[in-house]
Amino acid sequence: MAEGMLAFAARRAGVNALLLLLVSLTGFMLLHATPGGPLAQFSLSPGMTSERLNQIAHSMGLDQPLWLQYVKWLGGLLKGDWGHSYRDHAPVLSIIISHLGATVELGLASLVISFLGGLAMGLIGALRAGEAIDALCSLVGVILLSLPTFWLGLVFIYFLSVRTGWFPAGGLMSPGHASATDRLRHLALPAMTLGLVSIPVWGAYIRSFAGDTLNQDHIRTARALGVPGWRIVLRRVLPAALLPLIPIAGVYLPTLLSGALVTETVFTWPGVGRLFLDSLQYRDYPVALGVLMFSAVLVLMCSLAAELLHHAADPRLRT
């Protein structure tokens, strides 16, 4: 990498700014410039006259030139005013935040599952590189990577809920029950679904980083000095494999949202992903646009946080 630190920072900032602008512009244009546009929801309701429609358009500022609407909307975003839902007029930002908890819960639980699974798979593969178990791990990884999330969810529902009754098939909790075990039982299947399909992502990186580290001279030195194998793995291989994973995690974590969206649909999990789908269905464009922008902001925050964390954790980057 001949790329200097400054060029890298510039590129990073460029990517971030461009991403936000790109998402906001495409999102806005898509939802406003297409046939039907933001008014589609109203024009479908019975007894709607074109006069009344114009009135609504005017009251919502939809009769202004598109670029002006975009600028106004963008300005509002920056001020924290993300508009109001067409459905119940609640502020978009607070709707998103009220759905955030469920998604975070699902995301964290699946993250724990996928990370631990990936760690085990990656380390086994690296430590037994070239052996049968390494090949098996990579095969399992490819299969997990190829499973459609929604189908895996349905399979889990059928076998672990419908057939056996071990876990509930969906929802955040049983009505009237607010116990922790009840919530965990509801969380189990969606978290497993989303977690399993993400295992190979971590597994592949950890396999590769740990493998690189194991081939380095300092591992040989440690062994030449009599350091036991488990200690080498714990103190040298693991930190060296996890450090470069931090920035990758920063990029990867937000993409979990895609998987969360599908998982939330299968398990009727009231998170941001379902909110997005519902708002698309009801043509509730302010909310859909809001979620789109929210995920873009999340991408930026995650990658920024990861970068800071990476700098704090890697002694080579400290000056």
Binding site: Q216, D217, H218, R220, T221, A222, R223, A224, L225, G226, V227, P228, R231, R235, R236, P239, A240, L243, D314, P315, R316
Partner: protein, 329 residues
């Protein structure tokens, strides 16, 4: 007293022998230079002794006499037993001192690990001992050094740190694979002096691997020349540099004019042709294709044995050449 006795050491990776019937022995506190061109099998032989090859088939034996009088065969011991030997009785340092240290742990953390492992020292005691060791290997500000990561040290300092870690368990034998090759000439001389002074103080034996005869002449008590996996000459350093018996040794020395010691010399030896690849060896002497003294018989027809040509009290001298007697006249 014998420290290490290697008998018929052989290493292959499923193909031809990379190390082929290597035998030698060394005394307590002796420094043996293992010399030979790149590719002659020096590293493979030393890693085989350490059990660090990973894969490959190792045959023969390497009996190491420990300080407490026990003997252990470095070729045969199991992994668990080996962990008790490595670092405590045998240590090894390598060519590239930067990559030989963990880049993301401080020197202090890496030294403390070794100290707790081999000396049972923790906390303040480990810290004090680490400082002492770093001082011993000539690091000027040990306290500051302990807080740094390897990246921030110069090459010479890193090699000193590695030496400090290698001697922390007070081993009887140190293997050093080209430990000065990556260093500047002046730093190289300093590190060699350090190793000599450590030997003088602790009586630690050393196998010093190098392809540089000037380096060998400035540190070795004895020189063992490896060619294409075989020992071709084994001689006391004085005798070797004064009157090498094997044409290969002569050629090596002849290609490096004015060898005195590394403290003065500049050039590395050069020779026409190169070491035959393991699969391209003839039946006769492996040096024959490059040897000026080669005669079709016996050189190309029969593999010469490693013959002892002088056997004084401390002065064993052996050579592998079918014509050494003719040539000595």
């Amino acid at each position: 007293m014998t420290l290490l006795s290697v008998r018929d050491l052989g290493v292959d990776f499923g193909g031809p022998l990379i190390v082929d019937g290597v035998s030698f022995s060394m005394k307590k506190g002796e420094i043996v230079a293992l010399v030979g061109e790149s590719g002659s099998g020096k590293s493979v032989a030393s890693l085989a002794l350490m059990g660090l090859l990973g894969r490959g088939n190792i045959t023969g034996s390497a009996m190491l006499r420990l300080n407490d009088g026990r003997e252990t065969d470095l070729v045969r011991i199991g992994p668990r037993e080996r962990r008790g030997v490595l670092g405590r009785h045998v240590s090894m340092i390598f060519q590239d001192p930067l990559s030989s240290l963990d880049p993301i742990q401080t020197i202090g953390a890496q030294m403390r690990e070794v100290l707790s492992l081999h000396c049972g020292l923790r906390g303040g005691k480990a810290q004090a001992r680490a400082i002492e060791l770093l001082h011993e290997v000539g690091i000027v500000d040990p306290q500051a050094c302990l807080k740094l990561i390897p990246q921030r040290l110069s090459g010479g300092m890193r090699q000193r740190v590695l030496i400090a870690m290698a001697i922390a368990g007070e081993p009887e034998l140190l293997l050093a694979d080209e430990p000065t090759t990556a260093l500047d000439v002046t730093v190289q001389a300093q590190v060699l002096r350090l190793l000599l002074s450590l030997r003088a103080r602790s009586g630690m034996g050393m196998i010093f691997i190098t392809h540089n005869l000037a380096v060998a002449s400035s540190i070795a008590d004895r020189v063992i020349v490896l060619y294409a996996g075989q020992v071709v000459e084994d001689a006391p350093a004085d005798a070797f540099f004064a009157a090498p018996a094997m044409p290969y040794s002569k050629a090596l020395l002849g290609a490096a004019p004015g060898i005195d010691s590394v403290f003065g010399a500049r050039r590395l030896p050069t020779l026409r042709g190169q070491v035959p690849a393991p699969g391209e060896r003839g039946v006769g002497c492996r040096f024959a294709p490059r040897c000026d003294a080669m005669r079709p018989t016996p050189c190309q027809t029969q593999m010469p044995d490693l013959l002892t040509i002088a056997d004084g009290e401390n002065e064993v001298h052996a050579v592998r050449c079918g014509r050494w007697e003719e040539l000595a006249r």
